[in-house]
């Protein structure tokens, strides 16, 4: 598998080429460079996957973990060192496919979406950088390599969110995204340090005896690592950066903030799954509860947002939380008894990447058409954008969990895992799944059905009420629709992939079988929610909607403001950290510490003034000093020496 190194090198090379001499290239050349390299990477990934899974299982019935490269990058003394390499195992290969596929789609899509934008080359450079970092993250051979690429991913995300660097919101959002995730990374780092110290290695498979000897430290370390993962994967309360991150170009949101980077946290937990299960099951359950709360919170908030990308963002948070919950509810590594969640989580990760990527790209196409993120500017778009409409609908159905679309299968596994953990958990999750269906279809109807914004505006224009002719929505160009169609196709069929054969908690083959009770419940709930959404939003504001709005006004307001989480964070950072810590410290430094130094100088000067009268100019007083001084010395010597 030596060629796998190319998977990393190609995006890096394309980043360097575009970054260093992008300004000299035409837009087209830059786009093609990036896309071609990504296409190669995608092909290589598929080949890798084919070779890897085609190689068959070992005697234990698992796929062998292959490490084609592992070099010592930075020795850290003792047995510790930061290694860089490539590790292939089922989940990393799965992630390679996900990342390279979505990334390729986004690369193609962006050629249309970003056409003519200032900084087009830079955009592609950053995309390549991101892809490189993300690929490096998933193939990491050890936790520290993961951390290295984790940081790089964070930076690429920062750069891409802030792509429109003249837009104040984008600047603020990029800053926020970076700092919040960085804050979480701090815990990750401390977790790694603890882990590294006690296991004497950074690799994912430390020695058993050391793990046992470390005792209570390992759960703490794993918990801290999870905090890092929670930051990247936008778990409550570290989720606040993700909705804002939608300020970046929409394809970026699709790639980074829907399909790949945000699932890094899930991937991290999955990576450490063996340790979690064996040494820190209680931490795993905490993860489940955090995930549950996040899923619920995000779903509720998503129901009332008006910016379509924000709806998708909260939906993403909610769905990632699903994956977290699925991992958290595992109680053993046997997929047949309590270990189902692992497989479910990875499966959902896979399908979610596809349909959420599709949703974002679709949203991008819509935004491209109407030049706004706000739902109020949309409505009735199905006439103008048929391809987008159909693919978007497929994605909605998939995420809502309607069979036979892919989301149904993965979500069903998650729910099954939850029910087997505890019925309460299952019930909650089913409810959230229903909410998901509701808000997705709310979104769908508001965009494609309901009042036709364009016609309204056109009528107004014709009546002379407005001065400018409204822009007629149009279907996106082929570069944009092609990825939509491909992703839609995957979303439709992905559910039938025998995922358990490739990925499972103990590595052995696991055949997915539907739990019909759970499936029925969820289908009923989803369909019910879709119906509700249809009633409420299909043709503009229905009476029911108005009624609900007036009844639950306060709650809806609160949900609209995301339960004021941003304000709380702002209060903590701006008011407390900036105004109450940093400012006083800066003041203290200048006015106390520095002033003390200055005081020494001033005091010396003052003392200089104080001794001045000694030099009176009168020779007699000089001689008084003379004799007096001598006498004092004499007395001192006689009496004190």
């Amino acid at each position: 598998m030596d060629f796998t190194i190319l998977i990393l090198i190609l995006p890096l090379a394309s980043f360097l080429i575009l970054g260093l001499c992008g300004m000299k290239m035409s837009h087209k050349a830059a786009g093609i460079t990036g896309t071609l390299s990504l296409a190669t990477v995608a092909t290589l990934s598929y080949v890798t996957a084919a070779l890897y899974f085609g190689a068959g299982r070992t005697a234990e019935g698992t796929f062998e973990t292959i490490t084609p490269y592992n070099i010592c990058w930075l020795p850290l003394g003792g047995t510790l060192s930061i290694d860089m390499g490539i590790m292939l195992d089922p989940i990393s290969v799965m992630m390679l496919i996900v990342i390279s596929t979505v990334s390729l789609m986004v690369h193609i899509y962006s050629m249309g979406y970003m056409k003519g934008e200032r900084g087009f080359q830079r955009y592609y450079a950053f995309l390549s950088l991101f892809t490189f970092s993300m690929l490096g993250l998933v193939v990491a051979t050890n936790i520290f390599q993961m951390y290295v690429f984790w940081e790089l991913v964070g930076v690429s995300s920062y750069l891409l969110i802030g792509f429109y660097y003249t837009k104040p919101e984008a600047i603020a959002a990029s800053k926020k995204a970076f700092i919040v995730t960085r804050f979480a990374d701090l815990f990750f780092l401390i977790g790694i340090l603890l882990y590294g110290y006690y296991t004497e290695t950074f690799s994912f498979t430390p020695s058993e005896t050391l793990l046992v000897a470390a005792g209570g430290v390992i759960p703490v370390a794993l918990g801290l690592m999870f905090v890092g993962g929670a930051g990247k994967s936008a778990m409550f309360p570290l989720h606040i950066w993700l909705p804002d991150a939608m300020e970046g170009p929409t394809p970026v949101s699709a790639l980074i903030h829907a399909a790949t980077m945000v699932v890094a946290g899930v991937y991290l937990v999955a990576r450490m799954f063996g340790l979690f299960i064996d040494y820190a099951p209680e931490v795993l359950h905490i993860i489940a509860y955090v995930g549950l709360f996040t899923a619920l919170y995000a779903a509720v908030v998503a129901c009332v947002q008006t910016d379509i990308k924000r709806v998708l963002a909260f939906s993403t948070i909610s769905q990632i939380a699903f994956m977290m919950v699925a991992l958290g509810v595992c109680t053993s590594s046997d997929p047949h008894s309590g270990g189902l969640g692992y497989m479910a989580s990875m499966f959902h990760l896979f399908t979610h990447a596809m349909f959420k990527g599709l949703l974002f790209l679709g949203a991008g196409a819509i935004i491209h058409a109407v030049h706004s993120n706000e739902k109020s500017r949309m409505g009735g778009l199905r006439k103008y954008m048929p391809v987008t409409h159909i693919t978007f609908l497929i994605a909605c159905l998939a995420i809502a969990g309607i069979p036979p679309f892919s989301g149904f299968f993965s979500k069903d596994e998650i729910l099954a895992a939850c029910y087997s953990f505890s019925p309460m958990m299952g019930a909650f999750m089913s409810f959230i799944a229903a909410l998901t269906a509701f808000y997705m279809f709310r979104l769908y109807y508001l965009i494609f059905w309901g009042k036709n914004h364009y016609e309204e505006q056109l009528a107004l224009y014709k009546a002379g009420a407005t001065d400018h002719e409204p822009h007629k929505p149009h279907e996106a160009p082929l570069t944009m629709t092609l990825p939509l169609v491909i992703l839609a196709a995957i979303s439709v069929v992905a559910g039938f992939i025998p995922f358990g054969h490739f990925v499972s908690s103990n590595g052995e083959a696991y055949t997915i079988h539907l739990d019909y009770t759970v499936a029925t419940i969820s289908i009923v709930l989803s369909v019910g929610s879709i119906l509700l959404a249809t009633i409420m939003y299909k043709s503009g504001e229905s009476r029911l909607t108005t009624a609900i709005n007036s009844r639950m006004g306060a709650f809806i307001q609160a949900a609209y403001h995301r339960f004021y989480m941003d304000e709380i964070w702002l209060f903590v950072t701006k008011k407390i950290i900036f105004n109450c810590i940093s400012r006083p410290i800066a003041w203290f430094d200048r006015n106390v510490i520095d002033a003390t130094m200055d005081l020494l100088a001033t005091a010396t000067q003052k003392l200089g003034n104080f001794v001045r009268p000694m030099q009176s100019g009168n020779i007699q007083s000089y001689c008084v000093w003379f004799l007096g001084g001598a006498l004092i010395i004499i007395l001192t010597l006689i009496f004190f020496a």
Partner: protein, 494 residues
């Protein structure tokens, strides 16, 4: 002829040549030739050093030589380098080299500027190659004093005050240091000033160590921006001209850390072990406090100066942890901070040279006006906040891993506190980047400004390559400094 002598001889020759040169062309020729020679020499030295190490030469010091200077006082001009010194020499050469280009257009009195500049670098080189305490101290002070004139004459803003403050505080520090050196000399029986001989004897009584270790450490610590003796740094950096800031933050502040390690800790291991906790607390404060102070500054150079306080605090912090890894990290951090800060100050100088303000509230949208400098600034910022692929990450991670190896609650706690600096760093770096580079240009005056000239580009690119080079391939540095650090650690933790 010992090759190390060239590090003193070349600057001396440069001084002489500068003294004789007429006109800006000749001055530049002298400077470029000299600094290039020095750089080439340093690279050769590093390469040769690594080659020798790989060939199995295990002596603590290579290229050693000694000339009796003041025999009655046991003072000699002894030279010799281990990996740490080689790394520092290399760093100095890079900064001196790039600093020359950063001060391409210094006016007025270009000649005198470079005279003092070369004198300063002479001191720096001398300090790193010496193994005799007296010579070290002499070179140390030689490096300090030109700062006064360099800041006072060619600086900006409240330069007289800053220059005076900086000089006096550093000289105050060296007063402590001199006490320490004399204490070490007499404590060890007054037979030699050579640090390696003293270390080999290891006979300084513990009571004396308790007195002189803090003095020596504080003495060097002042230069290493140890809290609460760091206040010269913001003012000094703010007023200094570009290349002086570069050299000062890039190299001079490293003298502090190097000295703490080489003299204070190495020669007085017992006290270092017993009293480390006091200084660990101080340095932890430095690390966090510097970073927090930086958040609310509005002057670019102040931000960077406080950032330096934080980063240099980390150097001392790591040294005091006294594990091999943390000390390796400290050396890496010295290199990394030296390069990064030099880059930062170079960029700030270039921006200031155009906008004539360093107030972040008055600048916006520079990315559109001067893309090269802005991109450079973003890279410098990212390097500073520890992005993998740049030197800062390597250094910080090594430090944290190394510090974490000390297994008790106190050390763990302070390490975790120190770790928070990576978040705070991100806050102030991104704040600045967001404020001055992004957005639409608002100031009409600024819209007419030009991007970097060739000499500026050259400086920036050189430094970025170094920062990235160290960040991507840190292994050779470890090879370089391994033995040196091990020797000292072996003394500290027998």
């Amino acid at each position: 002829m010992n090759i190390l002598n060239l590090f003193v001889v070349i600057p001396l020759a440069m001084l002489a040549a500068l003294w004789l040169s007429r006109g800006i062309k000749q001055i530049r020729t002298v400077m470029v030739t000299g600094s290039t020679l020095l750089l080439a020499l340093s690279v050769y030295l590093a390469a040769d050093f690594i080659a020798q190490r790989n060939a199995g030469v295990t002596a603590a010091q290579l290229y050693t030589d000694s000339w009796c200077w003041y025999p009655q006082l046991n003072i000699s001009y002894s030279i010799g380098v281990d990996g740490i010194s080689v790394a520092m020499i290399l760093l100095s050469s890079i900064i001196v080299f790039t600093g020359t280009f950063a001060s391409w257009n210094v006016r007025p009195h270009t000649k005198d500027f470079f005279l003092w500049y070369v004198l300063l670098s002479l001191g720096v080189y001398g300090f790193f190659i010496s193994t005799d305490m007296f010579a070290m101290f002499m070179f140390y002070e030689t490096a300090l004093i030109p700062m006064y004139l360099l800041i006072g004459v060619w600086g900006s803003g409240n330069k007289e005050y800053s220059a005076m403050k900086l000089t006096l505080m550093l000289m105050g520090g060296s007063a402590f240091l001199l006490m320490g050196i004399l204490g070490i000399y007499y404590g060890s029986g007054a037979t030699t000033m050579n640090i390696h001989e003293i270390a080999a004897k290891g006979n300084i009584p513990v009571e004396l160590q308790y007195i002189f270790f803090p003095m020596t450490f504080v003495g060097f610590g002042v230069l290493g921006a140890l809290f609460p003796f760091h206040t010269w740094s913001p003012d000094g950096h703010a007023s200094a001209p570009t290349s002086v800031s570069m050299l000062h933050a890039g190299v001079l502040m490293k003298l502090g850390g190097y000295g703490c390690f080489r003299i204070a800790m190495y020669l007085m291991p017992q006290a270092a072990n017993d009293l480390a906790w006091i200084f660990i607390i101080l340095t932890t404060i430095s690390v966090v406090y510097g970073a927090l102070s930086a958040i609310s500054q509005t002057d670019l150079k102040y931000i960077n100066a406080y950032s330096s306080v934080s980063h240099c605090g980390l150097v001392l912090f790591a040294l005091l942890m006294m594990t091999r890894t943390s000390c390796t990290g400290a050396i890496l951090q010295m290199l990394s901070h030296g390069l990064m800060t030099a880059l930062f100050f170079a960029l700030i100088g270039m921006i200031y040279g155009r906008t004539h303000t360093r107030d972040i509230r008055q600048m916006q949208g520079l990315m559109k006006i001067m893309p090269f400098l802005a991109v450079g600034y973003v890279i410098a910022g990212l390097a500073n906040l520890g992005l993998p692929g740049f030197s800062g990450f390597v250094a910080e991670m090594t430090i944290f891993v190394g510090s974490f190896m000390v297994d008790d609650t106190f050390h763990r706690t302070v390490t975790i506190i120190a770790c928070t600096s990576i978040v705070i760093t991100a806050v102030y770096i991104l704040r600045v980047v967001g404020k001055i580079l992004y957005g639409e240009p608002v100031n009409e005056e600024h819209k007419r400004l030009t991007d970097a000239t060739w000499d500026e580009r050259f400086t920036v690119i050189c430094l970025i390559i170094c920062v990235a080079g160290l960040g991507i391939a840190p292994l050779w540095v470890s090879d370089l400094i391994n033995n040196g650090v091990s020797d000292i650690i072996a003394t500290l933790k027998p």
